[in-house]
């Protein structure tokens, strides 16, 4: 029997980066609007959001390339106000990688070490160690222009890690790579972070990237932080429709609040009837209406005489084949929008005819209540 275990983490509860009430205005436009955040030591933390949500601005402020209009940032207990980028205990991997084209790989990696005035042997040893960490041993003499995209990224990583920063900042580091390489680098980055134990702060607009790599994620919209939680919680318990929608597909069902108490909510819905769900921590009631959400993969097709404790019945109106999964659009009487259902193709979901009646089973725990 397989046991479910929480993954073990090396991180402490100490705060490494304290972001307090940061606002950044450009005229009347606010790139960041009163954002506060505490990032823990040794944590792989992601800032996730669509372009223009302020995530890159926030990262650049931690690095010292941008100044908040108001608010403060502290790294490892030290206030960063007025401290320029070159004297901060942070290092950055740039989106363009910013590899110095007139230097070779080794010189790129040792660039920051030159300021430390180490003796030649020590400098070389540290540069080689950093190259080994990113599996580039032996490529030290290559010119920057002779590297592939993935290699350039590794050089950028080594160049930052060799400084032994307290915080490593990564600005969309994987966005320029093709899909396969990107997935490989996600695993490697995660492994590297666990090996070096440095706090990583990653900026990304790719929800799968954030889910796959992070200990915690902050989801941002319009300069505000919408939710900070573990990948699992963000995905399964999004605080609002915006967050739910940004992190993959979600079926939204209109609901009426019948009863509300400390820990749970009772909602009346059209397609799903009366349901009792956990009340989300950040739930703030806005009148009598709410939204009930369920992820497409949490609805499963009930074959033949199979039954489930909770089920809804309807009719298949569309079917889309995606190789390993099939995406069904199912009309449920009473629901204004049909439900999306994803089903793996091992039981023949790809053969369900359009127009066929269908029953869907679900676990009530998969239902998530969101404030309207």
């Amino acid at each position: 029997m397989l046991e479910r275990v929480q993954s073990e983490r090396t991180q402490s509860d100490r705060t490494m980066i304290e972001i307090r009430d940061i606002t950044r205005s450009y005229g009347s436009f606010k790139a960041l609007d009163n954002a506060s955040l505490a990032i823990r030591e040794g944590e792989f933390f992601s800032l996730l959001g669509p372009s223009g949500c302020g995530k890159t601005t926030l990262l650049r402020m931690i690095a010292g390339f941008d100044t908040p209009t108001s608010g403060s940032i502290a790294v490892d207990g030290q206030p960063m106000d007025g401290i320029p980028a070159n004297r901060r205990p942070t290092n950055m991997v740039f989106q363009s990688y910013a590899i110095f084209p007139h230097l070779n790989v080794e010189q790129n990696v040792a660039y920051g070490l030159k300021r430390l005035k180490l003796d030649a042997g020590e400098e070389k040893r540290r540069a080689e160690e950093a190259l080994a960490q990113v599996s580039l041993t032996g490529l030290g003499k290559r010119r920057a222009t002779e590297l592939s995209g993935g290699q350039r990224q590794r050089v950028a990583l080594a160049r930052a890690l060799v400084m032994r920063p307290k915080v490593l900042l990564l600005d969309e580091p994987l966005s320029a790579l093709d899909k396969k390489l990107r997935e490989q680098m996600q695993v490697e980055l995660r492994r590297l972070q666990q090996a070096v134990g440095i706090t990583f702060v990653l900026v990304t607009h790719d929800q799968y990237e954030a889910l796959a790599m992070s200990d915690r994620i902050a989801v941002m919209f319009g300069g505000r932080i919408a939710q900070v939680a573990s990948p699992k919680e963000i995905y399964q318990r999004p605080v609002n429709r915006q967050v739910a929608d940004f992190l993959g597909g979600m079926n939204f069902v209109k609901a009426e609040i019948v009863e509300e108490n400390g820990a749970s909510l009772v909602l009346d819905t059209l397609g799903f009837g009366r349901v009792r769900t956990d009340k989300p921590k950040a739930f703030v009631r806005n009148g009598g209406a709410a939204t009930l959400g369920i992820r497409p993969e949490r609805l499963r097709v009930l074959w033949d005489n199979a039954t489930a404790k909770f089920e809804v019945a309807g009719k298949v109106v569309e079917r889309h084949y995606f190789g390993e999964i099939t995406h069904l659009i199912v009309e449920i009487p009473g629901l204004e929008k049909p439900l999306s259902v994803t089903e793996t193709n091992d039981f023949g979901a790809d053969d369900i005819p359009v127009g066929a009646p269908i029953r869907l089973g679900y676990d009530p725990e998969a239902l998530v209540a969101m404030a309207d």
Binding site: A85, F94, A98, F100, P101, Y111, T145
Partner: protein
């Protein structure tokens, strides 16, 4: 259609040959007649000699003119490149209202009639009470060189990824250190290229030098003076050949360097093997 298509390639290549002849025939005549034993430039050549070249270093006025040209060329190229760096950096790096207008105004002397520019500069110099000398020639040459300097430098600076300088700061380097270790090495080829282009232009420039110089002649002015004597023509042709050769070499090096600079600043994200 097919007839045209069959006819066109042959016609096109003869057109191309004529075109090149038109461009380079005068240039080819210069070295040919400079090794002619006879003083009159006429075919067939009466004999081949390097006599005219050997005579050049024995002409004191020519030596003086060469020195004057070198002084003016070096000063004008350094001055216009320094001014060009400032302008090119501002235009490629910052976005501000009037950026295009400024760029246009800096490039404009390129298309102004040189004789008009020369006369107006003469007027200005006289108004300022400056006596005509090599210094006034330098000022005039800076004016005509800046557009060329700008063209070379903006092509070298453009696409300079700002995150390179940020990366340097991020790795602990100071603003000056960043300039010395990143910015300068990256743009150095463009700067050298600009120096060479400006030097070449100054070396060959006649009209402005003619109007703005006092008693000291630069090489083109010396050549102009020599043309009055028919017997001096072969010497002028020899000198002209040398100038032509020098210009050609300098411009070639400048272009190679300019391309290298452009490649350096623009290869970010390129070459994904």
């Amino acid at each position: 259609m097919t007839a045209i298509r069959r006819f066109l390639p042959g016609w096109l290549s003869s057109y191309a040959v004529l075109y090149l002849l038109f461009l380079y025939l005068p240039v080819i005549f210069l070295p040919i007649f400079s090794i002619n034993t006879a003083a009159t430039p006429k075919f067939p050549l009466s004999g081949v000699t390097l006599h005219w070249y050997e005579d050049l270093p024995r002409t004191p006025a020519l030596i003086d003119a060469t020195w004057n040209s070198l002084i003016v060329g070096v000063s004008a190229s350094i001055l216009s490149t320094v001014l060009g760096i400032l302008a090119a950096r501002s235009i490629t790096r910052y976005r501000y209202p009037g950026r295009r207008a400024v760029n246009g105004l800096i490039m404009a002397p390129l298309v102004l009639p040189e004789v008009i520019v020369a006369i107006s500069m003469l007027l200005v110099m006289l108004q300022l009470g400056l006596s005509l000398s090599l210094f006034t020639v330098v000022l005039g040459h800076v004016l005509v060189c800046i557009p060329y300097s700008m063209t070379v430098l903006t092509s070298g600076f453009e696409g300079f990824d700002r995150s390179l300088e940020e990366a340097s700061a991020d790795l602990g380097e100071s603003a000056f250190g960043t300039f010395r270790r990143v910015t300068l090495p990256m743009v150095a080829p463009a700067i050298i290229s600009s120096l060479l282009v400006c030097f070449t232009i100054s070396l060959d420039e006649f009209i402005i030098a003619f109007f703005l110089t006092g008693t000291e002649a630069t090489l083109p002015i010396y050549i102009w003076g020599q043309l009055r004597f028919a017997a001096k023509l072969p010497g002028v042709l020899a000198l002209g050949t040398l100038l032509l050769f020098a210009s050609f070499v300098l411009m070639t090096i400048a272009e190679i360097l300019r391309r290298r600079a452009a490649r350096r600043t623009q290869n970010e994200g390129g070459l994904y093997a």
